[in-house]
Amino acid sequence: MTQKTVLNALHRELGARMVDFGGWDMPISYGSQIEEHHVVRRDAGMFDVSHMTVVDLHGARAREFLRHLLANSVDKLKVQGKALYSCMLNEQGGVIDDLIVYLLGDEHFRLVVNAATREKDLAWIERQAKAFDVAAKERPEFAMIAVQGPHARAKVIGLLHEVDRPRIEKLGRFAAAAAQGPHGMPLFIARTGYTGEDGFEIILPEEHAVALWKELATAGVAACGLGARDTLRLEAGMNLYGQDMDENVTPWEAGLAWTIALDAGRDFIGRKALEAQQAAGVPRTMVGLVLDEKGVLRHGQKVLTPQGEGEILSGSFAPSLNKSVAFARVPAGATEQLRVDIRGREVPVRLVKFPFVRDGKACEGI
């Protein structure tokens, strides 16, 4: 049974092409996916991401629980509203999911996890939370709208209650705060995103989502589908769960070393396996690739290197670069003479650092 967000009828009214997205009927684009990509790089676009799962954690030992649950250190969160990106690992160091955690109070944290992994995430979190007496409560009554682009913040702030504007204007990156939206609707506004552009991700009670979407449209924010979201996040060097990492891949092998905090004395799930792999030498590494000739790198294509075979993870045409880029997992040490098998044709590719695009422009060397 396909699930629908509260904005589903509106997407259809807007003429969106709908696709099944991890069990959800979601808009892939409303018109041209490439134009939707560009509008986010140049102005402001909005995405319905209400399919994502919001979980609130309550309990006196909630922080202690998250120290155990997450590979990044929740102790980096010191101020209410601050957010942190982290992986949640199994005992083998494999990635169960990636998520954002918000500090909302001494005994209250909020997690936003992927839609496609909802059930296993909830089961895992509940199982681990028992020992800490922490209650995990899903919040399906929330919708979520991501507003992204260089003009996104200004357009959202213009819709807020006047008393809230200065405070949200000053909201730092990776931080969230409550504010009143149009008609007094209560918004949870986070300065986060999945596009490489500035902007907000707004969590709100779903009965207000249609009204907010329409107000944003009137303010000049363009409706954008999940197709554009995918090319934007790839250019921005951001991983997609299920494509770039899963339970058989450690963060070391997925370009996520920066999210692992090996702080002294913290016994998080998967730590032993991560340390063992680090000591033994990580066999595979995630790299960025650019294709300078015609063609498109796509998920599942074989990568040929002098050190052995690898594979394309996320791969796509990159509209901001007008060529194709990809993440690939290759044997450690493979840096030169890389080729990709594109439909039977072996094509040379260049290994580059990612992100590929930052602040709307190609990064150096791309």
């Binding site: 092409r17 892939i28 041209s32 490439i34 197709g227 498109v296 045409f317 439909r343």
Partner: protein, 133 residues
Amino acid sequence: MSASEIPGDLKFLKSHEWARVEDKGLVRVGISDHAQEQLGDLVYVELPEVGAQVQAGNGAATVESVKAASDIYSPVSGEIVEVNESLADKPETINEDAYGEGWLFVVKPSDRGELDELLDADAYAELIENEDH
């Protein structure tokens, strides 16, 4: 897209290529508006060489959209006499005008009888109608 918007002079393969018989019996080939809609924004087009021989129902070109790569089959056998060079720089022309400026190649058919095996506009309209359900 309603049936009335499919040009009546076109014939189709089930795999969504169109064929238009033109002066001197040459056959111009493209993909349907329905096909470009399904593929989404096109980013690359790989065309055959002029002079190449193509077989009806076999791959003659490739189009790649942001989402996927697709083989384009020739509706008729014969020799490629012209290709749409402008698509190299502007593949989005196919999205904008699939039945006009977005044509792919022109074939000099070796067996005109093959044209009779193609779907007419009404039959093609019915095919995509059923596909949508």
